[in-house]
């Protein structure tokens, strides 16, 4: 009953904007990355030179593996804790459950810069609250930001803290979508809580879990703010991860050629990770 093209005018404006801001820079960036860049302007064509230059950079291996460890641990911890919280909230009454949801979501709605700044204030070396509490408890001088391992642990902790709220809301929505009768029927058949969780809840939560895994992976992998504000990449290079490296190359050392190449490699990595997740989830079914 509608003309075949009647819908187009409604989507064209949105796609014009998406094309201009989200899609075309990818192609332009790739074209740009094939040139040698001097003072922000492309000079001569060097093909994949900017990309091969990355491979021979001795610093990059450490940065990539640090990023992988950071992202994997942050995503895993967030999902496990958020799943436990969502299961708990689902069993609570309506009002208490809603109160818990609201508290859980607060860190997620405040900005990463502000949230991280507040954590830095809690853990800051000389007068931080954490140091005072540790002294009071007789733990001695707790200076988490000074030690490479604990600085990374703190970075992971803040990232988890920040994103749990989002994961809880999505997982809770998934839990609410599971009909109550499934659990009751299984209980009547004598299934234990663990069996119900393993055989009924988890498989039916595949879509929200996949979504949460994708969103968390991408947002952790691409976060500039948390390491920049919390540790500045330090101590030494202990918390220097990929987004900071891209940021520094482009806007601190103005090495736009390798920054563009690195950004595009990261972008490709993002896409491959999403595809891998989708494949993995399908394969499991």
């Amino acid at each position: 009953m509608y003309s075949r093209y009647a819908g187009l005018p409604y989507v064209v404006p949105a796609f014009a904007l998406l094309g201009m801001v989200l899609f075309s820079p990818v192609f332009y960036g790739f074209w740009f990355s094939l040139f040698r860049i001097r003072y922000g302007a492309p000079t001569d064509f060097i093909g994949l030179g900017n990309f091969t230059g990355l491979l021979s950079d001795p610093m990059l291996g450490g940065i990539v593996s640090r990023s992988a460890v950071f992202t994997a641990l942050a995503v895993l911890l967030t999902i496990v804790i958020a799943l436990a919280l969502a299961l708990w909230i689902h069993r609570l009454g309506e009002r208490l459950g809603f109160a818990v949801q609201m508290i859980v979501i607060v860190p997620w709605i405040i900005s990463t810069v502000v949230a991280t700044l507040l954590f830095r204030w809690v853990f800051v070396n000389d007068i931080g609250l954490a140091l005072s509490l540790a002294r009071w408890a007789g733990l001695g001088d707790l200076r988490l930001l000074n030690d490479p391992t604990s600085a990374m642990a703190l970075l992971i902790g803040v990232s988890v803290w920040k994103r749990i709220g989002y994961a809880v809301i999505i997982l809770l929505a998934g839990l609410k979508g599971i009909p109550d009768d499934y659990e009751e029927a299984a209980r009547i058949d004598g299934a234990t809580s663990w069996q119900i969780f393993r055989r009924i809840t988890l498989p039916l939560m595949k879509t929200p879990l996949l979504l949460v895994a994708i969103v968390l992976t991408l947002s952790n992998l691409n976060t500039v703010e948390t390491p920049l504000v919390l540790t500045g990449g330090g101590p030494g290079n202990a918390t220097r991860i990929l987004p900071i490296e891209v940021f520094d190359r482009a806007f601190v050392t103005y090495d736009l050629g390798s920054a563009t190449a690195l950004a595009l490699a990261m972008f490709l990595g993002n896409i491959l990770l999403v595809l891998a997740y989708v494949r993995l989830a399908k394969w499991k079914a």
């Binding site: 009953m1 404006p13 508290i103 607060v106 809690v122 998934g174 891209v246 993002n270």
Partner: protein, 285 residues
């Protein structure tokens, strides 16, 4: 239904102690950094350095706020309000027709285009990786450093999620309603305006709040795409304060408090919408 609700609300005694403890722990973990930051913002330097730190036994002062405001922070807040407001307006105006068309019309390439929208959600999450190409492209077009630079970029980042949320709601509106309106002689646009729009209000609100929170909190694009201090949004301004005020935690926490304020107000008024909007937009898609 009613019986299970009651059962869930009234837990056995030994559990309710645990529930209260878990609730308290969660509240402390999630709210403590915020409360500590807000308290700090009202402390004068002698109270800040007092050991052990005091929660309430100090003389509150507004001097930190005074210093932050004197350094032009209200200008950054005003600019950020402008960016977020225009982004919310543009996102809603572009997303509603697109969502309507994706659900109600069958036009060429409908399916692949919608897949592109869905794929853009993770794409805009990985925006940090795309930022360098985006920056190069925008500076080549001469679109950096203008009042419209950030609204354009932020709208493109928020648009896919908004389209998804609204499509989820429009799916739930019976087609008979628009068909009846068309039979009465209404045009498609009138159907959208007078039938769909009034029934989409909750999704509209949810998408609006989420867009506002995301654009108010945006850091990376804001720090890269515009140079001039007059155009600088609030999050990069706070980051600059870290360099400017150094270890002066009074002004730093004051700026953080001012940045959280609008978000907490929006959250207090519309928190329910955030939760339901995320839920609808994610799991039903």
């Amino acid at each position: 239904m009613d019986a299970t609700r009651k059962r869930r609300w009234a837990l056995p005694d030994r559990w309710s102690v645990l529930v209260v403890l878990a609730f308290a722990l969660l509240a402390v973990l999630n709210l403590m950094p915020l409360i500590w930051g807000v308290l700090t913002s009202f402390k004068s330097p002698p109270d800040l350095f007092r050991f052990p730190p005091t929660l309430f036994g100090f003389t509150p002062t507004l001097e930190n706020y005074q210093r932050v405001i004197e350094s032009g922070f209200l200008g950054n807040m005003r600019v950020s309000l402008f960016y977020s407001g225009t982004t919310v307006a543009a996102t809603l105006v572009l997303a509603l027709p697109a969502a309507y068309a994706f659900d109600r019309f069958d036009f060429p390439l409908r399916q692949p285009l919608f897949m592109l929208v869905v794929a853009s959600i993770p794409l805009s999450l990985g925006a940090a990786a795309l930022l360098i190409p985006n920056y190069l492209y925008f500076s080549r077009l001469g679109l950096t450093n203008a009042w419209y630079t950030l609204p354009l970029i932020l709208t493109a980042h928020q648009l896919p999620m908004a389209i998804w949320i609204m499509k989820g709601t429009i799916e739930g509106i019976p087609r008979e309603l628009d068909e009846a309106a068309v039979a009465d002689g209404a045009s498609h646009f009138e159907v959208l305006r007078f039938v769909i729009l009034p029934l989409t209000k909750p999704a509209f609100g949810a998408a609006g709040v989420l867009t506002f929170v995301a654009s108010w909190n945006e850091f990376v694009a804001g720090s890269v795409m515009v140079d001039s201090p007059a155009l600088r949004p609030i999050q990069p301004a706070i980051y600059n304060f870290i360099g400017f005020f150094g270890r002066e935690w009074g002004p730093l926490t004051a700026s953080a408090t001012l940045a959280i304020l609008p978000i907490l107000i929006a959250f207090a008024l519309l928190g329910r919408l955030i939760v339901s909007g995320l839920t609808k937009g994610s799991v039903k898609g």
